[in-house]
């Protein structure tokens, strides 16, 4: 045998598992599909247009900004597509398309690329972009057209309606009253998303199908969504003195399901360790509930996720898990400790 001409030398391990960044992002895109289809079914073809514009402009901004910064192109990892679809899901269907482009610019260029690209952003790009649009174009961002199939009088979103309720009185009764006057969607309409709201957040069933897919595929852990939605549910049950109908409306009413499963679980801006995930989820839940119950805004999902995103490094630090065989160091004076270590070495 002759000596092989060229041998590759690299650090172990020499085999690789199947997971790839592109594969993970593709799974997220698949998981978003049911909700995207539902949004078109509920709000009409314009929903598809908004999704398409957001996605295309996110990918374009990703490509251009990387190019200007003389970095390698990263559009192949599909993370810009995920951001684009999520951004579109957080916008009302009637939003002017140029605002979509501005949102995409904020998400990709300002929040993501200026901080170093995928994995480096301090906050969720889609959420931050939504908040920037919300404070910049408040009326366009809160003008929620009715679903096509509903012939009701234009009114506020379910959450805004609920916010006007008297929580000390009989809540189910108030809900029934509003439902009879077509000012609140029925329970069935809530589950299938036939209500006013951002285009991707309304259809609970479609979102849950996508979320189940992500959990089964191991892309996300249920920890954050469970603690997040659980905390909101507990708060709402207490606030409504155990009114289940009201709580159910609160859980399905805003962007909670979309936020909990698809935004709060963003890898980059949520803790990697389980304990941190629990703290993160509870924190999001507390903030969302407090904003909804006591704030002047009917909805608080995006603000609470953004705030918890910023707290993520602190949470990670505070909840750092003990490694294998971690032994708590005895409180000793420094010189003594050094001596002991030296002795162990010898």
């Amino acid at each position: 045998m002759n000596e092989p001409a060229k041998l590759t030398v690299s650090a172990s391990p020499h085999v690789k598992g199947p997971a790839t960044v592109t594969g993970i992002m593709f799974d997220v895109i698949i998981a978003l599909c049911p909700a995207a289809i539902a949004s078109v079914a509920i709000f009409g073809l314009r929903a598809a247009l908004v999704i398409a514009v957001c996605t295309a402009s996110c990918v374009a901004f990703e490509y251009l900004s990387r190019r200007i910064m003389k970095r390698s192109s990263t559009i192949g990892d599909l993370s810009a597509v995920v951001t684009g679809v999520l951004l579109a899901f957080n916008l009302p269907v009637g939003i002017p398309l140029w605002m979509c482009v501005i949102g995409s610019f904020v998400a990709i260029v300002i929040v993501k690329q200026l901080f170093g690209g995928v994995g480096q952003n301090f906050a969720n790009p889609a959420i931050t972009a939504r908040i920037v649009l919300l404070v910049s174009f408040a009326s366009a961002m809160t003008n929620f057209p009715l679903p096509k199939s509903v012939d009701a009088v234009a009114s506020a979103t379910p959450l805004a309606t609920l916010a006007g309720f008297d929580r000390t009185a009989d809540l189910t009764g108030q809900i029934d009253l509003y439902r009879a006057a077509d000012k609140l969607p029925s329970f069935f309409q809530m589950i299938f998303g036939v209500r006013q709201g951002c285009l991707g957040e309304t259809c609970a069933v479609a979102l849950l199908i996508g979320a189940a897919y992500l959990i089964v595929r191991g892309v996300i852990k249920i920890t954050i969504p469970f603690t997040y939605i659980g905390t909101v549910a507990v708060f709402m049950l207490i606030a409504s003195r155990g009114d289940l109908t009201y709580t159910a409306y609160e859980l399905m009413g805003g962007g909670l399901i979309l936020g909990a499963f698809f935004m709060a679980t963003d890898y980059t801006t949520s803790p990697v360790n389980t304990k941190g995930k629990i703290v993160f989820g509870i924190g999001c839940g507390v903030l969302t509930s407090v904003i909804r119950l006591y704030g002047s805004l009917p909805e608080g999902v995006s603000y609470s996720i953004l705030l918890m995103n910023i707290a993520c490094p602190l949470i990670e630090k505070a909840t750092a898990p003990a490694y294998f065989g971690f032994v708590k160091k005895k409180k000793e004076k420094k010189p003594k400790e050094e001596k002991a270590e030296g002795g162990a070495k010898a």
Partner: protein, 449 residues
């Protein structure tokens, strides 16, 4: 220290284990170990173990026989080197090793006779001290891959009572089947060693641990253990879940006893000794015959090897000759490894000698072990989930890039055993094991423990 109940073990073991599922690829499992004819020359580096290197005790032109000591050290943590063929010493000089480093070595040209050294005689062993001395003289080091001198491992201090001897037959690395073959072919030696070691070291419990992907080995060992009625249930055969890195020492202790070896500590700190199954079988053979460690079994496999098989090879045989014996390559190899694909060392050349601790020679094509370009970390946390030591590699990378030794120490980098589970599961193909080594180096330079 009492032996924990099976329930307690199960409870301790099921919690946060980390690890990964890796394709076993044990294609040589049914290949009976073949003895390779003596090679033309053997190169015996003076350091084939963790600890102090040996000094050559022969010089150029000397005639040596199989089993004759050719290198030894007066340091305790060291193991003597024996001639693995009979013939003439042709050089005592530096040679290139598998990792590319140069090291002093003795080269012997074989006369093809494999004459046994006349000094070989079974050692007289009646107590622990004699056993330790005999094992040192045998040149035995951990045959599972680490290469730690066995006499040091077995000679546990008096203040650390040992209640469990664990015979490690997990063999969790893909492709490698030498330990499995050892279980099938030398099962009586293994049981012999179990009894001898348990008696001489006064260890009340023995656990033989095998992964559940080796049912045949479990069956054979169980039948022998059942045959021996005098022992009661002191010797237990334990079936472990096949999950890499099950065979790692600390994982093994956790699986068998539910105890966690403290960071920076040894299994002896929690009353355990872990010994590789091939090492155990060797001890038994050595006590019977007195023939020191001059040959070992290796798995030769991978998608570029024409006839993958298990070969018993004189130590110091060049990797090239071993591959030739297995029919050579089917195609130009991309990467050749000494050891398994998870922790093995990529060879710079096939012109390197096989060491005592090398349990496999694997040759891969680009399809089998091609490198993938790394992308930016997305902080998915898969590395943390996979880490059997509960480390957070993504954070360690961050602080390694900042060269922050203090933070690295807080993150527990020193407990990393470089099993590669993190890098295996990383979707961004980050070279995480390399980062771990870098982190350790940063801490060493800064003098932080």
């Amino acid at each position: 220290m009492s032996h924990p109940s099976p329930g307690a073990v199960l409870k301790a073991v099921s919690k946060g284990r980390g690890g990964i599922h890796v394709a076993h690829n044990k294609i040589t499992a049914e290949s009976e170990t073949v003895r390779m004819p003596p090679p033309r020359t053997v190169v015996l580096p003076m350091q084939q173990h963790i600890g102090a290197p040996c000094t050559p005790t022969v010089k150029k032109g000397d005639h040596v026989d199989v089993g004759q000591v050719i290198g030894d050290s007066d340091k305790y943590v060291s193991a003597p080197i024996h001639a693995s063929v009979s013939g003439t010493v042709t050089a005592v000089a530096d040679v290139k090793l598998a990792n590319g480093r140069m090291a002093p070595a003795v080269t012997i040209e074989s006369d093809g006779l494999m004459t046994r050294w006349e000094g070989i005689a079974p050692p007289k062993v009646t107590d622990k001290a004699e056993l330790i001395a005999a094992i040192r003289a045998s040149g035995l080091v951990g045959l599972g891959g680490a290469g730690f001198p066995s006499h040091v491992k077995l000679n546990t201090p008096e203040d650390k009572p040992i209640d469990t001897l664990i015979i490690n037959a997990a063999e969790c690395e893909p492709y490698i089947t030498v330990d499995y073959r050892e279980c099938l072919e030398n099962s009586w030696n293994i049981m012999g060693a179990v009894y001898t070691l348990a008696d001489l070291l006064k260890v009340p419990n023995v656990v033989i641990a095998v992964e559940d992907n080796k049912p045949e080995a479990i069956r054979v060992l169980q039948s022998i253990a059942d045959d021996d009625n005098n022992r009661g249930d002191t010797v237990k055969l334990m079936t472990l879940k096949s999950r890499y890195p099950q065979g790692a020492e600390k994982m093994m202790v956790l699986s068998a006893t539910g105890r966690r070896v403290p960071a920076g500590g040894l299994p002896a700190d929690v009353g355990c000794i872990v010994m590789n199954v091939a090492s155990a079988a060797f001890v038994s053979r050595y006590l019977k015959t007195g023939k020191p460690l001059t040959s070992r079994s290796v798995t030769v496999s991978g998608d570029c090897i024409k006839n993958p098989m298990n070969v018993r090879v004189p130590i110091g045989t060049s990797v090239r000759e071993i591959i030739d014996f297995c029919g050579g390559f089917t195609e130009e190899p991309y990467k050749i490894l000494s050891g398994g694909p998870m922790m093995g060392q990529a060879l710079v050349s096939t012109d390197v000698p096989l060491l005592k601790s090398n349990n496999a020679v694997l040759a891969f094509s680009k399809r089998g072990a091609g490198l993938k370009a790394n992308r930016d970390c997305i902080r998915c946390g898969r590395c943390h989930e996979a880490c059997p030591m509960g480390l957070i590699p993504t954070q360690i990378v961050k602080y390694a890039n900042k060269r922050d030794a203090e933070e690295l120490s807080k993150l527990g980098v020193s407990v990393c055993m470089e099993c590669g589970s993190c890098a295996f599961s990383c979707p961004a193909n980050e070279p995480l094991v390399q980062y771990m080594r870098l982190a350790k180096e940063i801490m060493r330079e800064a003098g932080v423990k």
